[in-house]
Symmetry: C2
Subunit: 346 residues, 2 copies
């Protein structure tokens, strides 16, 4: 290469690099450039330390423009029809002045590399809707990491002007507790059936729901779905009230026939009005922020122990000693803490 | 003092001290000496570091003789009639070969210095029953500390031969999650009424119960209690099943008339048989031990941050900055973690 070529090469390289600086990404995101939004989320999802710094910078820039959306969590066991529901639901919410972002939290994606939203073909209509942005669950990480990335992605989507954020998750593990703590409204999809439909749902999830929707209320299933809805409605009033004073709604719907899909929309509008009037909307978000601060901080501090393989080895040994009745769990914890402090002093 | 007096004084002092050595306490506890059991629990409750060591030694000695009891958690909002229920219930369980220990977990006792079981006169009959040991909630500590002390007290009571341990708590906060994680059976007492009886109960507690008992089913209240019991029974089968395959029982009772108090006894006997046959009894205890190890270890590690006043000050500042939308909660956590690491390096 001669000097001129080298200069040209450096110029191009700098240009390529500057295209992905937080500044460039931020202005792209604000102007509605989907490639910039995608690149920004990819930056958030990166494991590299230098990317982490850039991502933090980008989030800082987006932060003042975030928050102005309705964040909706949607959960249900596999087979309940989440994709079909979101396909219709997202369509109802979106028009040229109301754009919808669909994100996913899937802890199993660490293994399967994304089992939900991984295949965009499952949402044919939404995928081609220009007012809808779909992003599959980030893979290969801990649940805490996935949650953090999703929460930061919400900030970016809001800065990009999306007014409704749908966060999809699978109702079988810890992930919905995470999702509940990052959304304004939590919707649980359920199947009607012979009673065994609950096997997949974790205890405590029903109590977190702001709306309980019995899906696939069509054809032969319609009557059964109505009976299930009535039973749940009767049951829910026996349970302790929500902090936000909202009485969870229960209804059936069919994404196939479109019956009652508007009820879901109306429910969320009513809820939004309810919690914005009584102040719980803001209060809930403040509490969520505080909780995320505390959770992240604890995770960082604990990583000093849980990222150390020799300490993890000692933990397993002590777990066995406790199981064998050799030492109490408190004594075992104290021994491990001493080992941890010793390790840090070296 | 002359030499002889000094020698005498030292001898007496040593004798006093040896009386409360772990060895002495342990043999006292095993021989059914109530004073030794009380002194042992007092040692567990002490905040002094040297007492902590002695307490650990005592627990180590008791550990091989612990575990052979049915641990029962009892909760319910103030006014539900916990004391009256336990008074009758404890009486039913105890005879010369079945001794009952009643302990309490009360997080509010840090302020009120023991609002439950604090006044033994509330349990007149139990207090004079020679087969029953009653110990009020330890006061002036964190919830984690109170829970630890209660769990260690259970070990001492079991080593002392108590075959039923009742752990009482108030159903309004975090304490019942703690209690649930240290007992084999969890019983929730509820009032029937005009619907507002749930105001005091925290969400999620009903789902943790192995039995739900509607109290004060006597006089004018009887019919209302029966209706409430039927409603709850219908509702509970709509909720996800327990890991132990046990279907929670719902019934009314009256400690006043004694009606159905035997049902409570029979329920626990059935439960014990059910979970001992299907292996969940042992499995649950192993999981509880593992969880306590992990919780205690985390608490110890985190105390490096949360016991440092200057870091707590910084935490408060950053919480405000997050609330003001200045920085993201993740950024705030990272800053605090850096401050924590810096502090440790000094």
């Amino acid at each position: 290469m001669n000097n001129k070529n080298i200069e040209e090469w450096i110029r191009k390289k700098q240009e390529r690099r500057s295209r992905s600086t937080p500044d460039k990404l931020f202005s792209g995101i604000q102007s509605g450039d989907l490639a910039a939004l995608s690149a920004g989320i990819t930056l958030i999802e990166s494991q590299l330390a230098e990317h982490r710094e850039l991502a933090n910078e980008l989030i800082q820039k987006c932060l003042p423009f975030s928050g102005h959306s309705m964040r909706i969590g949607i959960t249900g066991v596999p087979g309940v029809g989440k994709s079909t529901f979101i396909e219709h639901f997202g369509g109802l919410f979106s028009d040229d002045s109301h754009r919808v972002a669909v994100l996913a939290v899937d802890p199993s994606s660490a293994v399967s590399r994304g089992s939900i939203l991984g295949d965009k073909t499952r949402m044919n209509e939404l995928a081609v809707n220009v007012n809808v942005f779909i992003r599959p669950s980030p893979a290969g990480d801990t649940l805490g990491g996935v949650a953090r990335k999703t929460r930061e992605s919400i900030i970016l989507c809001e800065a990009a002007g999306y007014s409704t954020i749908l966060v999809e998750t699978v109702g079988v593990g810890q992930s919905e507790v995470m999702v509940k703590s990052m959304v304004d409204f939590f919707l649980l999809l359920m199947l009607s059936g012979a009673g065994d439909e609950l096997q997949g749902i974790k205890k405590g999830i029903m109590e977190m729901a702001d709306a309980l929707v019995i899906t696939k209320a069509d054809g032969d299933n319609m009557k059964r779905a109505e009976i299930a809805a009535r039973d749940y409605k009767n049951a829910l009033h026996l349970f302790p009230p929500n902090a936000n004073d909202w009485i969870p709604r229960v209804f059936t719907c069919s994404a196939l026939t479109g019956v009652n899909m508007d009820e879901a929309l109306e429910t969320i509008r009513s809820f939004e009005n309810h919690v914005k009037v009584n102040g719980h909307f803001e209060q809930n978000r403040r509490e969520q922020d505080k909780r995320w601060l505390s959770e992240t901080l604890k995770e960082l501090i604990l990583s000093g122990f849980f990222a150390d393989e020799s300490l993890i080895e000692k933990l397993k040994i002590n777990e066995q000693r406790v199981a064998d009745g050799e030492i109490s769990s408190f004594q075992a914890a104290e021994e491990l803490y001493e080992a941890y402090q010793h390790e840090r002093r070296i």
